[in-house]
Each structure stands twice: as structure tokens, then as C-alpha cells.
Amino acid sequence: MFHSILFPDAASETEWNRSEPECFKDLNLDQVLGRIAYKRKDFGLAEFFYTPLRDPKAIVYRQEIMRELEDPALRTAFEGFSAAIYALKNTMADIMDSLLSGNRSYDNYLTRGRVMDCADWYSFEVGRLAGALRGRELRSDGLRSFAEYLLAYIESESFKLLGERVKKLREAFSKIEFCMFLSGSTKGLSNGILRVSVQRYEGQPSHAEELLRCFDKFKQGETSGYERSLPEIPGNTEIETRLLDILASLFTEEYGDLNDFCRKHIGFVDNILARFSREIQFYLSWHECVEDTTRHGLSFCYPTVSETRTHVYAYGCYDLALAKNIESEIITNDFEINAPEHIIVITGPNQGGKTTFSRAFGQVHYFACLGLSVPAREASLFIFDKILTHHGREEDVTQQNGQLRDDLIRLRDLLEKATDKSIILVNEILASTTLSDAMLLGGYMMDTFSKLGAIVLCVTFLDELARHGPETFSMAGLINEDDPSKRTYKIVRKPPNGLAYAEHIANKYGLSYEKLCGRIAK
């Protein structure tokens, strides 16, 4: 029996995180996921994105659904269904309150008319989705099981009856046409009384149409006249109710049928479909984001996920927030962690893409554990318990501590939360002290990391940290040999560049030792 499109079964269902995880801002996830959730904020998607999964089975369940929804036709079908059913669920809740209020201002033919409209819309949307899914081979467990549920539902007696009755009602109501003869003036003339007589319509010709027929021959071409149209604003409830009451007396059969319909079919929205209409948005919203990005030639993939970190890698990964914000070409990077390695140390020039790399590293893991596709060409990723970040932050002036102290306090807090299943991202943590201090503290920090066994990505200016031991390996910014002043934003597995970059720059401007000597000598 179908349960939820987000979880394979009740057992794997987790509590939603109501607030964003701490790493959200440092990884610029607010710019990606926050924006996605905001774009469809009626559905309240944020909590879905705040809650990474730990169960590989649940992750694969979602990945399969996500992959199946790469078919745009399928997505279109679900988009329409989701928007409609979700809105209907909310509207019908309001209508039920009105009809049960016992107050004629709410419980009247206006409200009952809306029940008919909603029921019609509901039957149509459910039927339409069933039509789109019928006979379709669905590969993912989630969508297949949903489709089975839906196809059984539309064959149910109650749903069929709903459809038949609503169709009959609609037909009858669409034939109702009436005339109002207004005598007196709405402007308060004629003794101030406006008399409105109501009768069935008897084929009186439209004044506008006759005018148009009479003058059509003058038409010289398409023309924009002063077109006047008034928005269909809801009428005054009092007047509309009086008018509908008269119509109920002129068209007794139609309105009698409407009353009966409301009594019998008011709770027509199915709970499981209603839940689905919201949850499917998780996939649809992500695909919208993916589509928008892949248009610029960037790839996404479905990573394999693992609870061990023997071989963790991603090829061609990139920072999705950056890709969404800038138009120019996005540089992608690779990483590969082979046990016993679990610590990456990244060195290289400033503005060389180190922080971006670190974000991309965190993002692919976060997306993977949500069961989403990830911004990379190919990946195998680690199921983490938490992602802990320590990025250079604005100094908190309310604290009397210096920055080093502040940094170390935060490092300590971070380590208290960390386990061997965590992913830790630290960025230029020791920049505010002397080199010897930094090397000493850095060494301690690395010792702790290697003992902890968590996956760590450490961005630093200290080349020494990159040679800490067998758990550590080094990555560094690639230098453009032709013009070292140009950034490559490419981070590759290699020893720290050391002075190579400085030498390139010096040569280019003729300021290296030999050149400068040569220039001074004459």
C-alpha cells in the first residue's frame, strides 16, 4: 500500500527539522535550497530540505523517483496535479467550515456552488493524472506504487459516483440563463427604488453584437479601441444570495440536486493524494533547479552512497550556488579519497577557488543525503551524520576574546559535536596568529582530526599541514603557466605549490633575483 513519496515505508520516516542546519549558510545552501523553497513557498518545502537522510534505502528510494522524473512529460503531469490538488485541499477545508457554520452568510448557494466547482476540478485533475500514468511502465518503487494506488482509487465506486454526479450538475447549471429587467436607476433616481425582475432568458439579441454587425463593414484592419472590461469581482453576498434564491425557485430541479450533492459528497478529497500533492514538490522543485543549471552545460549525477568512507569521490563537481549566480564559465573540480586517507588539505593563492571547492564538497554530500542528484559528473559519496563547518566569520565584537581565541572556541565546539561519521570543513582557521603558533596549533588540530576519523577538508595557508601523515593528502590550485596572474580556479591533487607561483609572477615582471640583478648591474 502506497505510503509517501518521500519515504519507502512508515519505519524509515523521520522527524522533519524545522530550522535550517548550521552548515546551511556556510555552504550557501540558503542560496540554492532556500530559493527553491521560497519559489514554491505555498507548499512549505523548507523542512524537506532541512532534513538529510541516514538510511541508504530511503536515499535510493528518492534517487529512483528523481531519476524517473527526468522525463519532462511526467513532471508536467505531476506539476499540474500537485498544484491543483494542494489548492483544492485547502479550499475544501475552508468550505466545510462555512457549511457547518449554520450562518446563512456562509452556508448558502454561493458556497454550495463552489463545492460543485471544486469537485469537478478534483475529478478532472485526478482523472487526468490517472490517464497520464495508465499503461506507463514506471521503474521507481515510489512512483509505481503511487500509480497503483491512484489507478485503484479512480476505479472505486465513490470516486466514480462523484464524477457522474458532478458532470450531471454541471450540465444542468451551464444551461441556466436568465434575464434581469432593471427598472428605476442605480443612481438613486426614480424614487430611489431599483426593481429587478428575474425571468428565464428568451433569446433577446445582444445589443453589442447587433451594433458590431451593423458597422463591421467600416473596419479597416485590426484596431485597438477603448476596450472596457470589468474584472469578475465577487458580487455583494446579500444581493447574490437573493438572486440565487430566486433562481432556485425558477430552476427547482437543478438546485435540489445541488443540495443533495453537498450533503453526500462534501469530503471528497483523498488524504493520501493530498499528502502526495505536497510531497511530490520536493522532486519537481529540484528538477526545475537542475534544468535551469544544465542549460548552461553543467552536469548532475546520481551518486552511489555509502556508510563507509573507503572510496569517496566526485568528478566534475562545482558550487551550485555560484553556478546559479554567475553567467561566466564554471570551473569544475575532482576529488577522490582512498582509505586510509580522510583528510584533504588545500593550499594555494587567495581567490584561487579554494573556498568554492570546499563548498562544492559540502554541497554534493548534502544533496546526496537528501536523495537528490548532485552537481557533478560522477560521484560516490559518504552518508554523514552532520556537516560541521568553520568558515572565517565576521568577528563577534560582543565577545572580548581575540579572534584566535574565538576561532579555537568554535573549533572546540565543533569537535564536541563531531563523530567519525561527520564531515568537517574548516577554512583558514589559524590566519590570525604568528606562523610558529599556527604551525603548532595546526599540528594539534590535524592530530585530533586523524584520531577522530571524520572526513575533513581543511583550507589553509600552511603547506606543512598537507604533509601530516598517511590520512592526509594535499590538493592545490593549478597555476596557469602562460600567465600566472590569471586564476585557473582548478584545484587538483598535488603537493603544495610553495614558491612556484611567486617565481612565475616575479619573472613575468622581471623582478626575479637574476633579472633584477641583471637590471641593476648596468
Binding site: 454561493l110 454550495r112 456552488g113 460543485m116 466547482d117 447549471f173 451551464s174 441556466i176 440563463e177 436568465f178 434575464c179 434581469m180 429587467f181 432593471l182 427598472s183 442605480t186 443612481k187 438613486g188 426614480s190 430611489g192 427604488i193 431599483l194 426593481r195 429587478v196 425582475s197 428575474v198 425571468q199 433577446q204 439579441p205 445582444s206 445589443h207 453589442a208 451594433l211 458590431l212 451593423c214 458597422f215 463593414k217 467600416f218 473596419k219 479597416q220 484596431t223 479601441g225 477603448y226 476596450e227 472596457r228 472590461s229 470589468l230 469581482i233 465577487p234 458580487g235 455583494n236 446579500e238 444581493i239 447574490e240 437573493r242 438572486l243 440565487l244 430566486i246 433562481l247 425558477l250
Partner: protein
């Protein structure tokens, strides 16, 4: 309902894209003086004449259609003007009412305003019908005859009485009949104003169920007002569209007539100044004969407000015309008179000459030396070449290019060579070229060429200039010295 005075089978579109280089044509040929004189401050006439001038015709048949209508108009100028005046008068009256149709005005007021406007238009339509009864007796051209016939048929008695019935019913605001249906949610919607002309309606309406809204019930009144407005909205839209249709119809009539009014104005003016005017004779595109008598620059007549000397020409099988000779000897004036006549002829206008016979040209382009431009210290030749290149993009066999002192912004040798190569390329590919040039090396290069006609600003033996351009080979020196002597002697 079409007037079709400009084209036998289609409307005259005054906002059609102008031909390439229309700005240059206008400036180089001093056309704004001509247009102004045609318009006599009537914006419709100005618009129509401009539009016609800058979309010259290529089909001899289309041109002769206009020429025939023009002859008819010249025979019956008063009739053409009376018809035009009926239309102008209506425009002046309608201006006041139009603002009541804008969406900031209450719908019921808009309805009254639109009905009022329709009443004014109905009067005009009635006048036009009356006019057509007379007009059909005097006009004989294809265009004007068809127009008279159309007016008589379309504006017949039955139509006019239908219109009056509509106007009467629109005026009654005390009793309105509207209909509605039920929308998807069961609310009344789709309000339509209905005609009340069904028998027994009132009795049955009084007997049926009803409700009343009392004066104190402001919400209720406002609501009913809104429903009535929704019913009226469609009628107001249609009425405003109908008004616009008729307005467009009048506009169309005015535009089609305006061209002939402009021609009448110009003809009257030139005749008054004693300058000759003729309806030109056009030859097929592949002919290379030109002849004219007393061809003059209309803009010069207008500026001097007096007739001026004209030129004669009789050339056959020529493709390149090189005009040389003294400064201020009338070369530019000559070029303008020719350009004006060629362009005006191809629009079906009269031209300033005793006679003018010319082949139809597929594209008329001017490439005149630009006056000194302070903003461009260097790059003058670049600019000239760029302009030429744009023209070249649009040339076809049978086109005409008129050069005036072109490519002289570099030295004589370079300029001559550029100009020579261009002229040679153009003429060998069927493009006709007129060029006023000081570049002696250039003109000498075509000496003896069968397809080249040399013309020269005439200079009498004593050095006096006649402002006539006559056949003659180029002389190596210009006559700047003459002018110097004249001014500083």
C-alpha cells in the same frame, strides 16, 4: 469599405517602412520644402505626401493608375476639396468626445459619450452619401468613380435607418434588459445588455419574481450598478470599437484623398508662379532614354517664390551621367531637379518641367558629400565608404545612384580611382549613375565611353554663368577663380 485611390487593389499605408536612405533623399533633394508646400500645414497631407515620396513605385501600371486619378482631380479640384473638407470637419468635432471613452471615466458616461460620437459620425456618413450622389456625375477616373459607387451602395437608406434605431435605444437609461448565466461556481456571470424589442416582455417581467433595492442600501445599489456596468462594458467596448472603425474609415479616406490634395496644392502654387508642371511619361525599367524640357528645382522656386531657369536634355542609351563645371554654376540645382522629378514621377505626382520622360528605377539612392562636421575630424573617407557600402547592399540592376562630390575627402588620385571603380562596377551591372564631380581624373577615365553622357555647367565666353547644364566634356580646371574674381574684384 476601401477608397483605393492610391492603389487599385490595396490600402495606402502611411506608416509603411520608408525606402532606404529616405533621410538622405529628403535632405539631398531638399524635399522638405516641396512637402511643406504640398501640405499647407495640413498634417494629413504632409503625412500622405511624405509616405508616397519615400515609398516610390516600380510598377508602371500602379503609377499610371495614380496619374489617371490625378488628372481627374486636376479636372475637378473643387469636388475633391469638398469631400476632403467634410472629413476634416468631422475630425475636429470628434476630438472633444474621445476622452470620455478612456477607462478612467464611469462606464455609463462612456456609453453616452460613445453614442454621442456615433451620432456625429452618422451625420458625416449622411453628408458623404449626399456628396457621392453628385460626385458620381463628374468623376471619370477609375479610382474616383469606384469610390463614389462604394459610398452610394454602402451608405444606403436601410443602413442609415438601422443606425438611427440603435441610437434611440442606447439613449434610454431608465429601463435596461440584461442577461446572465451561471459561472463555474454557480454565481451569476457573463452579463450581456439585451435589446428590448420583444413583444410582451414588459408584462411578463412585471408578473415574475423580483426583488428591490432601496435607496439607502448603498452596498446593494453599488453591486447592482456593477452588474449593470459589466453588461454595459461589452456594449461600450463594441461601441468604442465601432466608433474606431468609422474613425479609421474616415482616416483612411482622408489619407487616400490627402495625397491628391497635396498634388493639387503644389500644382496650383507652381502654376501661379508661372512655372510649368506636367504629368511625366514613364518608360519600362530596362530603357536607357531620358528626355526633359525645362526641368527645374521646385525647392528653389519655393525658396525664391519665383520661377527659375530650367534645363533640357535628350539622351538615349546612356547609363552614366557625369556633370562637371564651374562652382555655383547650377550643378547641384540640376542634380536636385532631376532627383526630385525622378522620385516624384515614381510616386504618381506631377513634376516640375514642361515634359519629363524617364525609365522607372528600381531603387533611388543619393550619395552626397557631407557638409563639414566638427565631430568628425578624421574618418571622412571611412564614413563615405561606409555609406556607399550600405547603399551597395541594396542595389539591383535598374537602380539609380546620384553622387554629388563623392569621394573627394581624400586626394584627387585616390578619390578618382575609388570613384572610377565604383562607377564602373555599377554601370556594368545595370545601375544608372548620375555624378557631379570635380575629380578630373575620374571623369576623364570615361571619356569616349558610349554609355557615358557628359554634362557641364554652362559658362559663356566672357566667364559669365548661365546656371544651365548642357552637354559637354569636362575641362581640367573648375571655375573657382571666376567666383574669386567676381567676389573680390
Amino acid at each position: 469599405m476601401r477608397a483605393n485611390l492610391m492603389f487599385r487593389d490595396r490600402d495606402f499605408n502611411v506608416s509603411a517602412p520608408k525606402c532606404f536612405g529616405s533621410g538622405a533623399l529628403s535632405a539631398d533633394l531638399e524635399l522638405r520644402h516641396v512637402i511643406k508646400k504640398m501640405a499647407r500645414e495640413d498634417e494629413y497631407v504632409q503625412e500622405a505626401c511624405e509616405a508616397a515620396l519615400f515609398t516610390p513605385l516600380v510598377s508602371a501600371d500602379e503609377i499610371s493608375f495614380r496619374q489617371e486619378n490625378l488628372r481627374d482631380a486636376l479636372r475637378n479640384p473643387e469636388h475633391v476639396r469638398v469631400m476632403y473638407d467634410i472629413l476634416v470637419e468631422t475630425r475636429d468635432r470628434q476630438k472633444k468626445s474621445l476622452q470620455f471613452l478612456s477607462s478612467s471615466v464611469a462606464l455609463s458616461d462612456s456609453l453616452n459619450a460613445a453614442a454621442g460620437l456615433l451620432r456625429i459620425f452618422t451625420e458625416t456618413l449622411t453628408s458623404l452619401r449626399g456628396f457621392a450622389e453628385d460626385g458620381s456625375k463628374v468623376f471619370s477616373s477609375e479610382g474616383f468613380s469606384a469610390l463614389m459607387k462604394m459610398l452610394k451602395t454602402e451608405l444606403n437608406d436601410e443602413f442609415l435607418s438601422q443606425v438611427r434605431a440603435h441610437l434611440k435605444e442606447l439613449r434610454d437609461q431608465e429601463e435596461r434588459l440584461i442577461s446572465a448565466r451561471l459561472g463555474p461556481t454557480g454565481c451569476a456571470t457573463g452579463y450581456v445588455l439585451r435589446r428590448k424589442n420583444k413583444l410582451g416582455l414588459f408584462a411578463r417581467m412585471r408578473l415574475g419574481p423580483s426583488f428591490t433595492v432601496k435607496e439607502g442600501d448603498t452596498d446593494g445599489m453599488a453591486d447592482m450598478d456593477n452588474r449593470l456596468d459589466r453588461a454595459i462594458a461589452d456594449t461600450v467596448s463594441v461601441l468604442s470599437r465601432v466608433v474606431r472603425y468609422i474613425e479609421d474609415f474616415f482616416d483612411m479616406m482622408r489619407r487616400e484623398l490627402a495625397f491628391y490634395i497635396g498634388c493639387l496644392n503644389l500644382h496650383e502654387y507652381l502654376t501661379e508662379k508661372g512655372a510649368p508642371v506636367c504629368i511625366p511619361e514613364l518608360l519600362p525599367k530596362d530603357r536607357e532614354n531620358r528626355s526633359w524640357k525645362n526641368l527645374f528645382d521646385i525647392s528653389l522656386v519655393i525658396m525664391r517664390d519665383a520661377s527659375v531657369t530650367g534645363n533640357d536634355l535628350d539622351a538615349s542609351n546612356k547609363r552614366l551621367y557625369i556633370i562637371t563645371g564651374a562652382n555655383q554654376g547650377g550643378k547641384s540645382t540640376f542634380l536636385r531637379s532631376f532627383g526630385q522629378a525622378q522620385l516624384m514621377a515614381q510616386c504618381g505626382m506631377p513634376v516640375g518641367a514642361e515634359s519629363f520622360t524617364a525609365p522607372v528605377r528600381d531603387g533611388i539612392f543619393t550619395h552626397f558629400k557631407k557638409e563639414e562636421d566638427a565631430s568628425m575630424k578624421s574618418g571622412k573617407l571611412d564614413e563615405e565608404m561606409d555609406r556607399m557600402s550600405q547603399i551597395a547592399d541594396r542595389l539591383r540592376p535598374g537602380s539609380l545612384v546620384i553622387f554629388n562630390e563623392s569621394f573627394a575627402s581624400t586626394n584627387e588620385r585616390e578619390g578618382s580611382e575609388i570613384h572610377r571603380q565604383i562607377s564602373k562596377a555599377l554601370t556594368e551591372n545595370g545601375v544608372e549613375v548620375f555624378s557631379v564631380s570635380h575629380l578630373y581624373t575620374y571623369s576623364a577615365a570615361f571619356s569616349g565611353d558610349q554609355l557615358t553622357q557628359f554634362l557641364r555647367a554652362e559658362r559663356l565666353d566672357g566667364g559669365a554663368r548661365t546656371f544651365k547644364v548642357v552637354p559637354g566634356e569636362p575641362l581640367e580646371t573648375a571655375f573657382g577663380e571666376d567666383i574669386y574674381r567676381e567676389l573680390f574684384a
